[in-house]
Amino acid sequence: MKLFEFEAKSLAQNLGIPVPKGAVASNGEEARDAYKRIGGDVVVKAQVLVAGRGKAGGIKFASTSDETRERTNEILGLSIKGERAKKVLIEQKLSTKRELYVSIVQDRANRCQTVLASGQGGIDIEQVARETPERVVRHRLDQIFGMRSFDARDVALRLGYTGQQLNMLTDILSNLYRLSVVYDAELVESNPLVETQDGKFVAADLRVIMDDNSLFRHPEFQERSKEVSGEVTPLEAKARERDLAFVELDGNVGIIGNGAGLVMATIDLVKHFGGNPANFCDVGGGANADHVAAALDVIQSSEKVQLVFINILAGITRCDEVAKGIVEVKKVVGLKKPLVIRMSGTNQEEGRAILKSAGLGSLDKMDEAAKMAATGGL
């Protein structure tokens, strides 16, 4: 779950991480009031979850309360990569001496958390890492001990700081790490972390992505996690409400399967035979009638879907359960699209019999069924 910048900064501030003086506003009038509390030159920043808001016009500058109101109204009217900002964050503009990049990432390759830092902040770190890898400091953490103060000090030193500044930056790094632990963050990233003209450090921007699997430890985010960002399509939101693992694609063949790998393989296979999948939908390794019914219900509600391919390899899942789910949808809301059903494994015969009594057929082999689905069920 991605946090908005203003949310991340409020958590950071509570852990002693310096952030610019700022306030949140949802409309022009609130922005005007906010300016009066901050004063001077300010930055008005769209609060969206998609990256790249700067290039999309989501960051503007102002020096008076009226300007702040106008810039806020402009930003709130924008669509930034399909996402509309509901709020802006108004912050004191910093007098920047140097922009740093600092992040704490979950490093899959090394199976630990890794600190990435660079004296070249404010720009795309992947690009810096690709073009000038020597300008990126990497420090792997021992996952049993976590970040120790000497780990943080090593990073600060390699960024070129000494004396008082070394100690200040060490503390900030330690607290950013603490933020990653307390909130189970997949990513904590400050880009830029600004070194100001008077030699202090301030997290000018801050991104935090929480691990969805950790939300049981953070009941205070339960409501927040239901909020849908601009990155989720309406159909995906609908599927999510029904507890389905669902990703919308741009084709017209609806796909339902059990198990993530099998569903990915099903999509690939339909494509291999010239079809164009409309979605990824995993009803889970141990799916029952309700899961299958929910999936079918969501997918056939999509106008672009012309046919639905259900591919079930039953192990723990039972074919009779799957068949019951399909027949239930047929009875209750009706089947709105042609179906191609492949069912194999546990209780296959019982499942077939249930489908047959409802006038539905099914196939045994995945290839055969995928080809049929790809060519329009013929």
């Binding site: 899959r108 049981f216 430890r217 693992a245 993530a260 296979l269 494509k271 999948p277």
Partner: protein
């Protein structure tokens, strides 16, 4: 002697009193797996599917001679149970639980490494040595004894492919899921090392998917060490869009990293034959590249 588990494996089931734990204990026993004990805190003294249950692993080990563990404990407590199993020297520890926070998984994996214990998973269907033992939730009947070793990042796709091997008369030495999460104990390279030393394995099937670099790492290992046994592979997710999690927590293309195309290319450049579709694998194993029959 097959890798990881055999008929001499005697497992402790952590979370045996739960729905999943109890149900799969029944199926594992039916397959012939030796289940020495169950552990559920507060349920010591109970008997589940005829298996004695204890409050702690230490208590179970006072009364039984278990040497492995399988974890069905729900995500909020799975790390503690896994640490307890590692601490007691049970090996391997198969972690079935899905939805464990990545942070917890990293700590489990780091501790297992320090104690020289193999973790299979988390979010794995488990391990099966066909005809001998299974520690997992896979349906036993799609597997058959033989000499192909199989490692996969997915559950049902493993059953699909194992079933097609079995139907083609190709049996398996050991099949396992390394897990669908971003952080797993055993990875493809570890499994390749185990299969390399295993006399009962003559060739290897790897079933990969988008996300991470497990397949690229495997390709590098095969190339750099001149892997002697034939390896064939299938990679799922060719049509997956970037930035979207495809069901598994670990199945996500980030930026340009972790695409199926990159994985297929590095495997192929290491001499691995990569199947276009899963049903091609039996033919690739036989050393033939017959066109797909539909």
């Amino acid at each position: 002697m097959p890798i990881l588990i055999s008929r001499r494996t005697r497992a402790i089931v952590a979370g045996i009193t739960g729905n999943q734990g109890s149900f799969h204990t029944k199926l594992m026993l039916a397959y012939g797996t030796q289940i020495a004990a169950g552990v559920t805190p507060g349920k010591g003294g109970a008997t589940v599917q005829g298996v004695p249950t204890y409050d702690t692993v230490a208590a179970a080990l006072e009364k039984t001679d278990a040497n492995a563990s399988i974890i069905f404990v729900p995500a909020p407590h799975a790390k503690e149970s896994t640490m307890e199993a590692i601490d007691s020297g049970l090996n391997p520890v198969v972690v079935i639980t899905e939805g464990i926070p990545a942070r917890d998984a990293m700590i489990m994996v780091a501790y297992a490494r320090e104690r020289n214990v193999v973790i299979v998973g988390p979010n794995t269907p488990g391990v099966i040595t066909p005809g001998e033992s299974k520690l997992g939730i896979m349906p036993g009947d799609v597997f058959s004894p033989g000499n192909v070793g199989l490692a996969s990042r997915s559950g049902t796709l493993t059953y699909e492919i194992s079933q097609s091997l079995t139907h083609a008369g190709i049996g398996q030495s050991t099949c396992l899921g390394i897990g669908g999460d971003p952080f797993t104990g055993l990875n493809f390279v570890d499994v390749l090392k185990l299969f390399r030393e295993d006399d009962s394995t003559k060739s290897v099937v790897l079933i990969g998917e988008i996300g991470g670099s497990a397949e690229e790492d495997a390709a590098r290992y095969i190339k750099d060490t001149g892997y002697e046994k034939p390896v064939v592979a299938y990679v799922a997710g060719r049509a997956a869009p970037p930035g979207k999690r495809m069901g598994h927590a670990g199945a996500i293309i980030t930026g340009s990293e972790g695409t199926a195309a990159a994985k297929i290319e590095s495997l192929a450049s290491a001499g691995v034959k990569v199947a276009e579709v899963p049903s091609e694998l039996p033919n690739l194993l036989r050393g033939r590249t017959a066109p797909l029959q539909v």
